[in-house]
Amino acid sequence: MARLKIKAEVTGSVWKIEARAGQKLEPGATIMILESMKMEIPVVAEDGGTVAELHVAEGESVNEGQVVATLAE
């Protein structure tokens, strides 16, 4: 089973987590929303997949390029 690491495209903080571990996501679905530069930046599962793991919690700081979730196809 292919695992896909989802990275944060921006440095900021985790504002809201929308998906649960184990949840199956449609392509383009939002996994979580980061806050950066006073904007809500969605982290999306471009090709969809099942959430294998969430690596961050709400309120936590994230760096650009940090893996925030792992999806399984």
């Binding site: 495209e9 921006v10 950066s36 006073k38 809500e40 969605p42």
Partner: protein
């Protein structure tokens, strides 16, 4: 044989030798070397050229070059071809100069005949220069080799004649470099001296020096992929612009890129009939920007809704993602879109986005491609990392290059337009036409950041400082309506977002006459900051 019968034969025996020599050239480094190359999932240079150019359009030059082997009577036994294949070809019916190293002969290392064939300068680059046609380099060479010391009896001073031609071409004709294998040193440097570059996933690498040199110099053990695969060269460093999934896709991308380019700076880009009505209005544009200012939206979709259908070609899609740069068509005419991406740092210009904009604006200016700025920029990126990355210098360099450019530019303010980065989206040398959507806002800096600083004493003196700050913000925001600036003609027009395409097409069509009267090279004065 009598003289008569020899004459009747004509030059048949020499033509036979020519046929033999051509067959030797076509065999490249021999069947074993070709098989090994194919085994690594790579095409030969001859297959690459055939895959890139119009069918049957390749006219090779220098097919006989190489190292002949002769018996003691001087009869030809065979020829090891020169490790470079090049010539004249066509792409979409237009002539191009094309060449590339042959990896199956000595790993495509440099070759010294009486005249260089290509690589850095050489005949193929002279051809592009003299005939003012685009140059496509298919790079798969290891560059210089220390074994040349053995051959020559001396070491060679770095740099060869030819690189000055490569530099000259940057102001004359489109130069495309496709890295097809491992490029280190000279060939890597050559790849950078281009208007657009591309590499192939899982099969090309580009670096100043490869893993063995890195290990000796720094005691770092690192793989080729980690050192110079697309994950570094394209996504992190931006040294190469785009990545292709396969060699075949790479050729399709090169052809696509050139379809937007004029043959040289003395001509205009080709106009195509895209069949997309100039007055097409998309209802989706009315609601694409959320009313909630904290919410981002899909700027790539916005570009696709405005541009001619299927005409958008994004350059550097995975580098400097706070900015989107695309070649596209509007009513058939080539334009360059520069769009801030609110999904990445709210569209703030960081050092990478600035470098991307600098190159793209200069590219479009040189090749007479009008620019459309779709603006949603809160300013330069802030924070320690951004300062350390030289955002101010890269950002101002981008602004500087924009203020030197003379190609017509159009500013469409979608949402935020603030500060120096905002100024860099306007056509200060030209008409300076700025149109805005009702969602637009602008200023020297965003109100929410500015109020606390500008009204500090007043806020501190208030009974409820937080309430006073919110109150001042609300007062200022009411005055920040784009309609008030339009009253003062500080922005030339506010439009219904659905009118964007029709409005831009009118002006881009009208600008064609101006473009036609200002072709030719553009010398630039001054020193970039």
């Amino acid at each position: 044989m009598t003289a008569e019968s020899a004459d009747a034969e004509g030059w048949q025996s020499e033509v036979e030798e020519l046929r033999l020599r051509r067959a030797q050239a076509d065999a490249l480094g021999g069947a074993a070397a070709v098989d090994k190359h194919h085994g690594q999932g790579r095409l030969t240079i001859r297959e690459r050229i055939a895959g890139l150019v119009d069918t049957q359009s390749f006219q090779e030059v220098g097919r006989l070059t190489g190292q002949g082997r002769y018996d003691k009577d001087g009869r030809l036994l065979g020829v090891t071809p020169a490790p470079y294949v090049m010539g004249l070809a066509k792409i979409d019916g237009r002539p191009v100069a094309v060449g590339g190293e042959d990896f199956t002969v000595r790993g495509g290392t440099s070759w010294s005949g009486d005249r260089k064939k290509g690589g850095q300068g050489g005949f193929v680059e002279d051809l592009a220069h003299s005939y003012r046609i685009p140059l496509v380099n298919l790079i798969d060479g290891s560059g210089g080799s220390v074994t040349s010391i053995n051959r020559r009896g001396h070491s060679v001073f770095p740099g060869v004649h030819g690189f000055e031609r490569s530099v000259q071409l940057m102001g004359e004709v489109p130069v495309v470099c496709a890295v097809m294998g491992t490029a280190a040193g000279g060939p890597a440097g050559r790849a950078i001296l281009s208007h657009w570059s591309v590499m192939v996933k899982d099969s090309s690498y580009v670096f100043a020096a490869g893993p063995p040199v890195v290990e000796r110099s720094l005691r770092q053990k690192i793989t080729k992929e980690e050192l110079g695969g697309p994950g570094i060269a394209v996504e992190v460093a931006g040294t190469i612009d785009n990545v292709a999934a396969s060699e075949a896709e790479c050729f399709a991308l090169v052809r696509r890129y050139l379809s937007y380019m004029p043959q040289n700076v003395w001509q205009l880009p080709p106009v195509a009939n895209t069949g997309d009505p100039a007055d097409r209005a998309e209802d989706e544009l009315l609601s694409i920007v959320p009313r909630n200012r904290r919410k981002a939206y899909d700027m790539r979709r916005l570009v696709r809704l405005v541009a001619d259908k299927d005409s958008v070609f994004e350059l550097q899609p995975s580098y400097g993602k706070a900015l989107i740069t695309c070649l596209a068509r509007m009513n058939g005419k080539v334009v360059g879109f520069v769009a801030n991406n609110p999904m990445v740092y709210g569209g703030a210009m960081d050092s990478r986005a600035a470098r991307k904009q600098t190159h793209f604006v200069e590219l479009c200016d040189f090749f007479h491609i009008p620019l459309v700025f779709l603006v949603d920029v809160p300013g330069f990126m802030v924070g320690r990392d951004a300062e350390a990355a030289g955002t101010l210098r890269e950002g101002m360099r981008s602004v500087y290059v924009g203020l030197q450019a003379s190609v017509p530019m159009f500013t469409v303010v979608i949402r935020k337009c603030y500060g120096m980065a905002g100024m860099g989206t306007t056509d200060k040398n030209g008409l300076d036409l700025k149109i805005a959507w009702p969602s637009a806002e602008w200023g020297s800096l965003p109100i929410e950041g500015g109020v606390a600083a500008a009204f500090r004493r007043e806020i501190e003196a208030a009974a409820d400082p937080a309430a006073r700050e919110a109150e001042i913000e609300a007062e200022l925001r009411a005055m920040a309506s784009p309609f008030r600036t339009a009253e003062a003609f500080g922005v030339e027009e506010i439009i219904d977002p659905r009118e964007t395409r029709a409005y831009l097409c009118r002006f881009i069509d009208a600008a064609q006459a101006r473009l036609a009267t200002s072709v030719g090279p553009k010398p630039k004065f001054g020193v970039r900051p």
